[in-house]
């Protein structure tokens, strides 16, 4: 093992959309001069990719910052707004709830919040600062002081993927990534490995490792032998409406008999996605048919698929963006040290499939309470919710409010608690741990908590006011 002195090893990223740009800049930032990063792009703007949806979870903050795209740039240069989560309305089997992001819930006398709430027969939402603020349309950055209730209010973003792609485009252009703009003519395979990519401009690009970020065309990974499994298909269309000022700091998803409509409240636009059954006919002019599913292996030979080339997830939660982030993180952790990549490939695929499964069970959980659906969309969505891990989560929570978790799940215990309770699941029994604490004592603590959250929310500024002030502040900083 010596210092790397030889010629830089090339890594090719194919694709110029959100996935391609994020992968290219992340690789260039993380890997040293021992690697050359080459990005191959089709000419012209990448096509609109509505399957990323418009929701990003709180963990995207650090990920984008490491890529060089900080919050100030997102807020000043794009229409990105803040998001405490997603409000589900008229959801079958439940009515509705606020699926908010939240830091680990507080405990009372060392016992988790949910047990107190279960014993008292109360709803969860009044105790969640981010849910209350979202409903009131108010926002403020969480303080670092952990004793302040607002510190629990984690937030993500409402965003337009095309705008983020454009920002990243500038970053990549100013980086050491070597870009080639020319359509792919042929992917050459030798001994099961991608040996070269032929471009229309006559260039032949060779590399040790190829990243397929070409979206559903899967141009390279399919040539390498990757196989996509379609779980079901949906029909989705995008519409955009200009607005004067942003709406609440959360997305809304409204269900109806034929499907659902999500609405994201960006700084000067509302972006809506309509999703229904595939055979329901186009409802928006731009509606397209989308195959949901994933590759049986995302890393085949020397080719790694990321983003929609690897998995296509219904944009019902921040999951599509979570998956893209995880695809890239997994790749960075496992950039192969040598040409034989068996070990890295196996670990990558294991974790890829776990991420896919863990996201799927969270989505499936949303459809479990849809009883006897007759409409085609709901029928299809509720059809395949059999999963041992999901069954365990539901039965453990339903019995005694126990949260079963698995390794490195993308949705954490707070997400699951909020979803369970939002969907109307209540533990049959409360946890015996709590018997040691008098009900009156825990009721008092709950009342205090609720009151302090109510007061805090009333002092927070409306989302639009906060955004404007924050932008003014950032501009002053930029000048200074």
């Amino acid at each position: 093992m010596g210092a790397s002195t030889g010629k830089p090893r090339p890594i090719v990223v194919s694709g110029g959309g959100l996935a391609g740009n994020l992968a290219a800049i992340s690789l260039a930032n993380s890997l040293g001069q021992g690697f050359e990063i080459i990005q191959i792009m089709e000419p012209g703007a990448p096509p609109e990719d509505l399957v990323y949806g418009h929701a990003a979870d709180p963990e995207i903050y650090n990920f984008l910052r490491r890529a060089g795209l900080g919050e100030p740039a997102l807020i000043l240069a794009t229409g990105t707004s803040f998001s405490y989560g997603t409000e589900y309305r008229h959801w079958p089997g439940s009515g509705g709830w606020m699926q908010c992001h939240h830091a680990p819930f507080p405990t009372i006398a060392g016992i988790p919040l949910r047990h107190h709430i279960t014993r008292a027969g109360l709803a969860l939402e009044p105790f969640l600062i981010s849910a209350q603020a979202a409903r009131a349309g108010r926002f403020a950055h969480p303080p670092s002081d952990p004793d302040n209730d607002l510190s629990g209010a984690e937030y993500g973003y409402q965003f337009d993927p095309a705008e983020w792609t454009a920002q990243l485009d500038q970053l990549v252009a100013g980086s050491r990534v070597r870009r080639i703009t020319s359509p792919i003519v042929e992917v050459a395979i030798e001994d099961g490995l991608v040996s070269a990519i032929q471009l229309e401009n006559g260039q032949t690009v060779t590399a040790d490792l190829f990243i397929d970020a070409n979206g559903p065309s899967r141009r390279i990974i399919e040539a390498a032998g990757g196989r996509f499994r379609t779980e079901r298909t949906i029909r989705a269309g995008l519409s955009v409406r200009e607005t004067q000022q942003p709406g609440p700091p959360c997305l809304t998803i409204e269900a109806d008999a034929a499907g659902w409509t999500s609405k994201a409240h960006l700084q000067t636009a509302e972006r809506m996605i309509r999703v229904g059954a595939d055979d329901a006919g186009a409802e928006a002019p731009s509606a397209v048919s989308i195959a949901l599913g994933e590759l049986s292996e995302a890393w085949v030979g020397n080719c790694v698929a990321i983003g929609h080339a690897a998995s296509v997830i219904e944009p019902l939660t921040p999951a599509p963006m979570i998956m893209l982030r995880r695809d890239i993180e997994r790749l960075l952790e496992l950039v192969p040290a040598s040409a034989g990549m068996t070990v890295e490939r196996r670990e990558f695929n294991r974790r890829f499939l776990e991420d896919v499964e863990h996201i799927r069970i969270f989505h499936d959980a949303l459809f479990l309470s849809v009883s006897a659906p007759e409409e085609p969309y709901w029928q299809a969505a509720a059809a395949s919710t059999e999963n041992a891990k999901l069954q365990r989560k539901i039965s453990q929570f339903g019995n005694r409010g126990i949260l079963t978790s698995y390794d490195l799940e993308p949705f954490n215990e707070e997400d699951w608690t909020i979803a369970h309770m939002g969907l109307g699941r209540r533990p049959e029994h409360y946890d015996r741990q709590i018997d040691g604490l008098a009900a009156a004592e825990s009721d008092q603590a709950l009342a205090r908590m609720k009151q302090s959250i109510r007061q805090l929310v009333s002092k927070m500024p409306p989302h639009n006011v906060y955004l404007n002030r924050f932008k003014q502040y950032l501009r002053r900083q930029n000048h200074a």
Partner: protein
Amino acid sequence: MPETRPPAIRQIVIVGGGSAGWMTAAALSSLLPADQVGISLVESEQIGTIGVGEATIPDIINFNALLGIPETDFLKATNGTFKLGIRFLNWGGLGEDYIHPFGQHGVDMNGIDFHQFWLRYKADHPGSTIEEFSLSAVAAKSGKFTMPDANPRSVLSQLRYAYHFDATAYAAYLRNYAEQRGVQRIEGRVTEVHQDAQTGNITAIDLDNGQSVAGDLFFDCTGFHGLLIEKTLGVPFRDWSHWLPCDTAQAVACERGDAILPYTVSTAKTAGWQWRIPTQHRTGNGHIYASHLLSDDEAIDSLLKDLDGDVIGSPRKIRFRTGHRAKFWEKNCVAVGLSGGFLEPLESTSLFLIQEGISKFIALFPAADMPSVVRDEYNRQLVKKFEQVRDFIILHYKATTRDDSPFWNYTRTMDIPDSLTDRIELFREAGRVFRYEDELFSKPSWVAVMMGQNIVPKSIDPIVRTVDPAGITRSLQSMKSAMTSAVSNMQTHRAFLETYAWSGKDAERGAGGER
């Protein structure tokens, strides 16, 4: 919300004393109000206990803290000493020597694991070992000890420790604790176990003194007998001896020298290994071996030959079976300790596994109906813990170049669980270590053992290649000198103990080994 509440548990019966029984009794009595839940513990003075595992890992500190036990009290009562890690001799190959310390090596920088920087550093400094960068290891090798500093800026904040102690004395200490909190100790041997004809639940046990003890919930702490879980409920055992072929131990105590080492020693032998555990008043020793490859007499000779002080008493033989119950919790019976499962104490996990059995039970504390969903979750979590510890222990046997006996030829070439193969290969490729979320052994532990037993990465993580090697050398050398100077200011372990928690007891003669 109106709730149809199943009746609460009113009476808990723990069958068997020893570490498992009294740890269970102490923990339950500290949490359950004595006026609502009765706890009794049945044990017989005629049945000896196997004081399992006097060497521990840092989690024991949490257990004592949960009970509110003052550290100095505990150390005096159990002749306890401090432990900074385990020194492994002859494991990777004959003549080899490394320490698996508690706590981490060095400091992670920019989100990159420390050992990656060290691998880069080693490329230019071939003589370097990773334990030079562990404060616990450096202090251990110098025979020194001090308390960690809570201030994260201090180099002393990196120190982690556990204890060595007399497990029989610990059980006695916890007995006193539990009895003060209302646990009723009943002397007697179990003669019969009664079960409900319909549910199969255990309803009561009869004792040889004519007494009958009824309960809603029974803990089986009867050790390898498995009186309730196996003899009564017939829960099968999953045998892991094909991965861990040792099945017998010979244990004996010896006089210790003036110094007290702040670490456990594990020396690999021809067909197993020997432990050395220093307590305040003597040294515990034991030779663990595969009985089909080594006779008892040979094992005893080898044990006695390698004592570093005069022998006290004569060796005691312990037979064991490696593996675990298919279910730790069946019907209204929970098996804690050896009745639930056994893994040789190579990484000092015996008391930890008991602790997990208790704490996971407390987290899932059931009503008297004990629904199967609660039991399933308990069983799932415990099996996972056992498997994680198992893989780590197997690593020690697999990662070796020893070919000097049939024992090592077997372990070196045996098939190992896929989960472990993947881990070893990932590390060998580029030094990558992935820790599963709630795993006991941290990344530094895996790194210490893999590096210590010659699983050397073929190359370093490409991400480290961006960092300037001169900068790495500067950072590492400053870490090293900070550690060296911190250790030079520490007292010896013995001097520290003498002022902190000296029991003042002389060596007790006559008792057998420490286990």
